[in-house]
Amino acid sequence: MCDYRLLPTNSLKRQWTPSFHSWDNEDGSAWVTFHRSDDEYLIRVIDLADFVISRDGTICSCYPAPETCDETLDHLYRNVVYPLMQNRQGHLVLHASCVKTETGAIAFVGDSGQGKSTLTTAFCAHGAEFLSDDCLVVEPADNGFLARPGDPSIRLWDDTFNRFANRNTPLAPPISYSLKSRILDGPDLRHCTQSQPLLAIYMLQNEGVDQIDIHPLKTHDILPAFGKSNFYLDTEDHQALTRNFHQIADLASGVPCFTLDYPRNYAVLDDVISAILTYTVNLDLAA
């Protein structure tokens, strides 16, 4: 559970220690800085808002900057702050998109810009539902792991948006820190609202290949790969880091993980989807 409170603009007067971590823009400037006190964390989204999080990740107080609109605050909370709060509450949150197929959920992990959203949207065009676009909470269950539904929207760059959307596609209002268009749950992009058994995880890899290639992710590569692909708030909390390490190890032991290489060309997306589905169905049959 998360308790969210919106407070008056620029009303955060408390002084904080220097940041212990940051997320940076491509030019090296900080986009988000992270600060710590005895009982709280500050997530500072530069020029947009301060979010103060309780140590246990259950309470968030938002202090917006004067120019920040409600849509931007809402998007920041859902896609940046809430995943980090979930992490503080002990959940494993992957930087991943996820789709529901006929037999279960398939997750796609990768760095920003590698094609997770495009692939997810393409799956939806083939009739699948999506559970998440950017952050995926994964939970252990009796017979494996469950993928939990996330924010019911997908953000796309113009080229992908123009390919898959039409004039009736429901859109979210624009946000100030991203030029992507945000498509909402609707007839063209159906959001799955129930947790689904997680069948497989595909890690998106090289963009410069000329054919579709799927391989089991090597054991010793899984933890480093997923270790940098999950939402994590306190990078110096060794107890929480250890818990996170074992959560990822449990996931790697329980869910088949693969590398996925394919040409970043819209013309091959149907073939990519077919290859993924065939691979995953065969896993299911082999199990």
């Binding site: 054991t219 010793h220 590569d221 899984i222 933890l223 480093p224 270790g227 990078t235 060794h238 880091l241 250890t242 390490f245 074992h246 190890a249 790697a252 032991s253």
Partner: protein, 95 residues
Amino acid sequence: MTLDRTYKIPEHIVARDIGGETVILDLQQGTYCGLNAVGARLWELLEQGNTLNQALESMLNEYDVGPDRLKADLLALTDELTSKKLLTDSPSRAG
């Protein structure tokens, strides 16, 4: 480096077996190290407090390999793990 040494795993090092291989994480550095099945077995024996000599004897009974070859491999591996500060050559930690 002698075979009679015991090793300590620092508190900021965590390890996990996955499918017969061991993955080690240095919580301070944020770096990972992977051990194959043989390295994983050595890690397990050292973690239990065995000296390198004791680990060597155990593993000679478990693997079809000559003693000189295995000794050289284990010395090289512990040397590497020590240089990466994943092991320290001091009395083994309890438990």
